[in-house]
Symmetry: C2
C-alpha cells in the first residue's frame, strides 16, 4: 500500500460504504479494515459480472465506482467474469436470450468489458478472472458436496424464486445450483468482501454462507443501490422515479459524445446531482460536503459533469464540453432571458417535430423537418439529426438557426 493511500480504517469505512444499501456486517468490516491497515495486507474484494456483451451506462458504474474506491485505498479488486454459466447458457432451452456463448464470444465480451470498466477501475491493479477456471473443474461429486451445503427452503426464500414458486411457474433444479456456484467463486478466491447491487444481496449472502461451510472466514457484503434515472423527481424529501435504464431513456451511456454526457448531467435536479456525487464521484465525502457548503449548485453540477466526461472520455474533452455548453447556455441570451414555453405530453413524450410546431419554432412539421435536415436545430447544445427524436418530460433549450432560442418545458 502506498503511503498516500494510508487513510485510517475509519475514513476507509466511511468512504467504502458511502450511500450503500446493505453492509454485512459493519463491525466486522471495520475490524478487517483495521487489521488490513495494521498488517498492510490488502483485502481481497470481488464483484461478479455476466459474460454478455456490455454496453454500460452510468447506473452500471455505481458498482465500479465503489470497487475503485477500494483500489484507491490499496485493496485488491477481483473482477470475476461468469463465463462458466455463460458457456452453458440456458440448458432448458426455454430462454432464447441465453444461448451458450463460445469461448470466442466470451473473449470478445471480456475485451469490451475491459475497454469500458477500465475507465473507472485501475487497469494496472485489477485482477480479471474467469470462473470457469475453478467451476469447470468441479466433479459431479464436488457439485453434490456444494449442493449439500444449502437447504431448498432457504433457496426458495430468494424473491424471484419465491414469486415463481407461489405462482406455479417452473423453476428448474439447475437454477438452484447457479447461486451456489457464484457463491463458490468467493470460496475459490477466499474473498474478504463482495460487492454488488442491492438486487444481488441474496446471492452475495449465499457466498458468505458457503465460505463458512468450507471452513473459511465468511466474506463481508456491501451492496449499492440501483441508480435513479436523469428524470428522477424530488418529492416529499426523497427522489422518486424509474431507475436509470435504456428502456426508460433516462440514462447517460458511458460511450456517448462528451457534450451529450455533459448536457444530460446538467439537466438533473440539484438533489439528484448530490445523489450522483455520493454514488459516482471520486471526490471524498469531505470534499463533497465543502462543495455543498461553499459552491453554487450550478457550479457543482458543472464540476460533476466535467468529472464524468473526464472519466469516460478525457480531461480535454471535459474542458471543451463545458465551454460549448456554457457558450450555448450563456452567450447571446442569458438562461433567465430565454423565453419558456410549456408543452403537455400526456403519454410522457412528444416528437421533436410536433414540439417545434406547437411552440412556434416552425410553421409546420414539414418546416421543422427541413430545419433539422439542414442542421439548423440544436437541443441543449447537441445538433439534432433524427426527425423522429422524442422528448421526455423535462426542460430543453432549443436553438433554431443562429439566433432563435427557446426553452421548452415538456410536462
Amino acid at each position: 500500500m502506498s503511503t498516500l493511500r494510508r487513510a485510517t480504517p475509519e475514513e476507509q469505512f466511511a468512504e467504502l460504504t458511502r450511500a450503500a444499501v446493505d453492509v454485512h456486517v459493519a463491525e466486522e468490516l471495520k475490524a478487517r479494515l483495521k487489521k488490513s491497515y495494521d498488517t498492510e495486507k490488502p483485502l481481497v474484494v470481488k464483484a461478479g459480472f455476466d459474460p454478455t456483451a456490455p454496453d454500460l451506462h452510468l447506473g452500471h458504474t455505481v458498482l465500479l465506482a465503489r470497487m475503485r474506491r477500494f483500489q484507491d485505498f490499496g485493496h485488491t479488486v477481483v473482477f470475476v467474469i461468469g463465463d462458466f454459466t455463460g458457456m452453458i447458457g440456458d440448458p432448458t432451452g426455454k430462454n432464447a436470450t441465453r444461448p451458450p456463448l463460445s469461448p470466442e464470444d466470451i473473449a470478445r465480451n471480456a475485451e469490451t468489458y475491459r475497454q469500458q470498466v477500465f475507465k473507472v477501475l485501475d487497469a494496472a491493479t485489477t485482477q480479471v478472472r474467469f470462473n470457469n477456471e475453478w467451476l469447470g473443474k468441479l466433479s459431479s461429486r464436488d457439485v453434490i458436496y456444494l449442493a449439500a451445503k444449502y437447504p431448498v427452503a432457504r433457496m426458495l426464500e430468494r424473491d424471484d424464486f419465491k414469486r415463481r414458486f407461489k405462482e406455479g411457474r417452473t423453476i428448474s433444479i439447475h437454477e438452484f445450483l447457479y447461486p451456489l456456484m457464484q457463491g463458490y467463486d468467493s470460496v475459490a478466491l477466499k474473498c474478504d468482501v463482495e460487492l454488488g447491487g442491492s438486487d444481488q444481496l441474496f446471492n452475495l449472502l449465499v457466498g458468505r454462507d458457503l465460505m463458512r461451510d468450507y471452513g473459511l472466514i465468511p466474506q463481508m457484503v456491501v451492496t449499492g443501490p440501483l441508480l435513479e434515472g436523469l428524470d428522477a423527481r424530488w418529492e416529499g424529501g426523497k427522489l422518486v422515479g424509474d431507475k436509470m435504464s435504456k428502456t426508460s431513456n433516462n440514462y447517460v451511456g458511458i460511450s456517448e459524445p462528451p457534450l451529450t454526457i455533459f448536457s444530460k448531467l446538467m439537466s438533473v435536479s440539484d438533489e439528484l446531482m448530490w445523489r450522483y456525487y455520493a454514488l459516482l464521484s471520486s471526490k471524498s465525502s469531505t470534499e463533497i460536503a465543502s462543495l455543498k457548503r461553499d459552491v453554487h449548485p450550478m457550479e457543482a453540477k458543472k464540476l460533476f459533469a466535467a468529472e464524468m466526461v473526464t472519466r469516460f472520455v478525457s480531461a480535454k474533452e471535459a474542458v471543451e464540453a463545458r465551454a460549448e455548453w456554457e457558450r450555448v447556455h450563456t452567450r447571446g441570451d442569458l438562461p433567465t432571458e430565454i423565453e419558456t414555453k410549456a408543452l403537455r405530453a400526456p403519454e410522457g413524450k412528444i416528437g421533436v417535430l410536433k414540439a417545434m410546431t406547437d411552440t412556434g419554432l416552425s410553421e409546420s412539421n414539414g418546416e421543422a423537418r427541413r430545419l433539422i435536415v439542414q442542421g439548423g436545430v440544436t437541443i441543449d447544445g447537441n445538433r439534432v439529426s433524427d426527425t423522429k427524436l422524442e422528448l421526455n418530460r423535462g426542460d430543453y433549450v432549443f436553438k433554431v438557426g443562429k439566433k432563435r432560442f427557446l426553452k421548452v418545458h415538456v410536462e
Copy 2:
C-alpha cells in the same frame, strides 16, 4: 433366447406383472415384449441397490423374484449397485448412519450381495454394474444439464420431500440431485424396464422422464409391493399388519437355518401363503391356480416352504426340514390334538421363561431355565437355547422333554 423360454408376449406380461403395484405403461410394456419376441432381442431390465452391507430377508427377495422371472424369459437383467452415492455418504454430516464408504467397503458389500442375490438371480446372465462408472465421470456442466431437466416443484411432490418441506424440516439441495442421478443410470444403460419397490415409484418415474429428455425411449416401470410380515392377519377380505422387517420380528432371513425357514413359513395363514406364492414362487400362475384348486392348503404350504428352503439353502436341506417339521408336528400328537393355552402380552411380547411358567410347562422360572439349558425345549421344532428369548403375539408349539406338547397363543 432359448426356445424353452419362448413364452408368448401375453404369457410373459401376465407373469412379469404378477402382483405388481404399478405398471407404467401396461400397453407399452406389452408392445415391447411383443417386439422383443418378434426380433429375439432381449429387453434390458434394471434394478438399483444401495451399496450398504445387505442382510436380506424374504421381503427383499420380492424384487429379486421379479427380476428372475425376466431372466427366465430370456431378458437381460442389470443389477446396479449405487456405489457413486455410497462413496459420497451424507455430505451434510447429519446422518451418522451414512458415512462415506471406501472402495474396499463397496467391493466387500458387493460380494455379500452376490452371495445372497444369486440364490434368486441367475448368476450366469446377471450383469452387475456400479453406477460410479458413469456418474463419477459427469462434469459440473453435465450435472447442471441434468438438473435443468427437472423442476423443483415436481421434486417436492415426492412424498418424503413434501412432508419434510411442509413440516419445515431441512432438505438439502443435493438430495434433489440423487433421484436425478439414479434416473441417469437408466439413461446410461438405455433401460427398457426398471423394477423396484412401490416406495421407489417416484424415483423410477424420474428415470422415465429423464430418458425422454435425453432423447431416448422412456423405460417402462414395474413396482412390487412391500411384503407382508409373517404375522399379517386376514381381515375384511384383505391382509393387514406390518410389512416384513427385522424390527417387527416378523421376517424370514434368507440365511437362517433350514428348519427355521421352513417352520416360520408353515406358521403363516393360508391367505398369506397364497400371497407369498404370487410374489415369491417361481411357479407359474397356472401352476399356482392348480395347487389352489387341487391340493390341501397344508400341503401347498409345505411345498412353498420347501421351495424357499431349496432356493436359499438346498433341495436336500428342504427335504430334511420338511421331514423334521412333520416329525415334530405330526408324531405323537396331531396338531388338532395339541392343547392350547392363551397368554396375555400387554406390551406385545412375553419372555420364554414366564410363558412356560404361566402355562404350567414348568413349575417356576428357575425350572424353565434349567429345561432350556439342558436342551429340552423346542418351539415350532427349533431348539431353544436363549433363556431371554421373547415371544411376540402369535401361536407357538412348545415341546418340553420328549412328550409334552402345548400350543401357546400369545395375544
